[in-house]
Amino acid sequence: MSLAKLTTSALAIAAVSATAAAARDQVQVAGSSTVLPYASIVAEAFGENFDFPTPVVESGGSSAGLKRFCEGVGENTIDVANASRQIKEAEVAACAENGVTDIIEVRIGYDGIVFASDINGNSFEFTPTDWYKALSAKVVVDGEVAENPYTTWDQVNPDFPAQPIQAFIPGTKHGTREVFEEKVILAGCEATGDFETFLEAAEGDKKAAEKECISLRSDGKSVDIDGDYTETLARIESNQDGIGVFGLAFYENNTDKLQVATMGGVEPTTESIASGDYPVSRPLFFYVKKAHIGVIPGLKEYAEFFVADEVAGPDGPLAEYGLVSDPELAETQSVVTDETVMGGGS
């Protein structure tokens, strides 16, 4: 009865695996796809240099990662969430509800957001105003709020060539999108003075006016990309008029296909981002579940290794890949060593 034999062996394997499930010995990380390359570089080096197994790093986006992070405490939840934005109060509350109270926030450095187009196409020198006028759903024309009438870049700014507006921007589940809205679209909205008009129309409701600014047009001129930067790159390769939003590191790895546009007259480089001259940059974070330190072997060592000078410092492998290293790295290191949790006293 080979059938019976097969079934028993299946049961035996299930039993063996159930006992193996009792202990997890590698750190599990998930979250932002922007942080993923950095986290995987660190994880790889960590696995090489320590006796712990290589941590597992998944992507999926900042919000998705933080959601899984906040699911609770225990071995089948992740230990570290990567995020390309700061954790929100609502997420901290959701965490607390599930028993995840002590969260250590670690800032690893800064990342620039660049605007790039096909290497053989026109080159651009943008300001936030241009992007706001090109992409916002409603703009102010002759003092009146109107549906966005612009279809080519030269209508937005006479200095630009008459190239149809076609932008590929990160979808809403990406942390990059929020930075794009806040530092480019909203900044442009305020710079043009349209913000005041929206504020008047909304009767002084700042939130409503901001929302009006950052709601983007939905007539196909602006396309949300929910996938990764490779998808944005593929779209640009198939449509020479396209302009895409990328991370600096991604652009630097694909300089043979893309040309970068300046923003506010500054070219994005690690130097201009570190000095703060380039306007569109954001800090990158990872969040550690303090309750898992001491339970999951290697978790604290991984966090310490991540922010060590030789890794996250200006000469480390992360900076080499494109991360703009944090001038206050020493402070971050002490946060990790002392396991200082967010929210001060708690």
């Binding site: 299946a10 043979d256 040309q259």
Partner: protein, 451 residues
């Protein structure tokens, strides 16, 4: 009598045509048949053309991944760097991190250039940048494994970085590097000199088939091996669970179950399940196996369970079909000589249906092997396939990826060298799928009986 036609006389044709000369209507019918044949040939030709384009693209883009550029260097394993106290204590040797090994490879590279008399204006740092980041790790692994060799000089073959490799493969050219901060023309001159010297060359890269995934900083070191083991672990789970359950269910439904509305509903539902998109099974797996049963994330066991659910309907349907094709006379003869129902099924029907069952199972497995969508939801996509499992239990429970998930992951990454590896991975996956299907065809040819 006069109204009976003379049988010898030819039958009067109202249109007066002969059999040998086609009339207009026959011509039209023949022409339309000819056109239909032509459509068929065109359709097949288009299909073949597509297949050829696909194969050509895959092979032309993917074969590069099976070769990699290596450089040969003699590295002195300096005692003062690697074992300061000189007592060969493994714990102390391990304290030196890969960052401590990098200067050794740098010095070795510099020595190599000086020794072979190549003139270059490059600084030692720029020379060492031609090496893969993996070189320091390779060196450290070697020293940790052979601490006795500290103090001697050992010859190594190191990977070069992905830009140098791309240059040898034609992916990177002197024109394309104009804006590339990772490599410059002077470094390519050095590469050319090293090629002429014979110490830098492209050769077969077994690591691509056996190795683990690598991070974005060193695409040249990435391999498919660990993801392959993940796929094998999943196939093991699918085989062990889906085959017995599927066969038992089909035997019961086909041979024992009464024909009534309940079995009809079950039958309809099995057919429907076979058509359910695989991502649905992924969500089910996340909800049931991970969130409810608390099985670990990213484990091939969970992946295998999800794929089992997906494969079961396929196996049940093909098993039932092959049981049905065994003629009733076999059953009747067995029952006639006094066998019980169960004996007739297990001694006579099942052996005759076995080739069909196996074929169905192998095709189901091949389908499961190429499945990515459900794995996305249970955490098997990412930088995961980096720890080769040490036992079967670990292979099932420790986080791992699978071949198609690894291909998807590589295709997403920024460095163009990963793109080449994604195509290479497709070749490996196709080899597996084609050989599984070939086995299925062979089994059917060899053992199938027709009545």
């Amino acid at each position: 009598m006069s109204d009976i036609p003379n049988p010898a006389a030819p039958i009067a044709d109202p249109r007066g045509a002969s059999l040998l000369v086609q009339d207009g209507r026959t011509k039209r019918r023949n022409a339309s048949e000819g056109r239909f044949k032509l459509y068929g040939i065109v359709a097949i030709a288009i299909g073949l053309l597509m297949l050829l384009t696909l194969l050509f693209t895959i092979i032309s883009r993917g074969t590069g991944a099976f070769q990699q550029t290596y450089v040969t260097l003699s590295v002195p394993l300096l005692e003062e760097k690697l074992d300061k106290n000189g007592n060969r204590d493994l714990a102390e040797i391990k304290k030196v991190s890969t960052f401590g090994y990098a200067p050794l490879t740098k010095a070795a590279f510099e020595a190599k250039i000086a020794e072979s008399g190549i003139e270059t204006s490059l600084k030692p740092k720029a020379m060492a940048d031609l090496l893969s980041k993996d070189a320091a790790a390779q060196l450290r692994d070697y020293v940790v494994a052979n601490p006795d060799l500290i103090g001697s000089t050992v010859e190594f073959e190191f990977l070069t970085n992905s830009r140098v490799d791309g240059y040898l493969k034609g992916r990177v050219s002197r024109e394309s590097i104009a804006n590339d901060k990772n490599i410059n023309a002077a470094q390519l001159d050095l590469v050319d000199a090293l090629i002429a010297d014979g110490s830098l060359q492209k050769r077969l890269n077994l690591n691509f088939i056996t190795g683990a995934d690598a991070s974005d900083a060193r695409p040249e070191a990435a391999g498919m091996g660990v993801a392959m083991l993940g796929s094998f672990a999943m196939m093991l789970v699918v085989l062990v669970l889906a085959l017995p359950i599927g066969v038992a269910a089909s035997i019961y439904l086909e041979e024992f179950a009464p024909k009534n509305w309940i079995t009809d509903i079950i039958e309809v539902n099995i057919s429907n399940l076979a058509a359910v998109p695989s991502i649905v099974f992924g969500i089910l797996g996340l909800a049931v196996f991970i969130n409810y049963m608390h099985l670990p994330n990213s484990a091939p066991l969970v992946g295998g369970l999800v794929l089992t659910l997906m494969t079961l309907p396929t196996i049940i349907i093909s098993t039932r079909a092959s049981l049905k094709s065994v003629p009733p006379s076999i059953r009747d003869a067995a029952l006639g000589v006094g066998a019980s129902k169960m004996q007739s099924v297990f001694h006579h029907v099942l052996p005759l249906a076995a080739p069909g069952i196996l074929t169905g199972t192998i095709i189901g497995l091949a389908q499961a092997l190429g499945e990515t969508a459900p794995l996305l939801l249970i955490g098997m996509v990412g930088f995961i396939a980096s720890n080769p499992p040490e036992s079967i239990a670990e292979g099932l429970m420790a986080p791992n990826s699978a071949m198609p998930a690894q291909i998807y992951e590589w295709a997403k990454r920024a460095d163009p060298a990963f793109y080449e590896r994604a195509w290479g991975g497709i070749i490996i996956l196709l080899v597996f799928l084609i050989s599984m299907n070939a086995i299925a065809v062979l089994l059917r040819r060899r053992f199938e009986r027709r009545w």
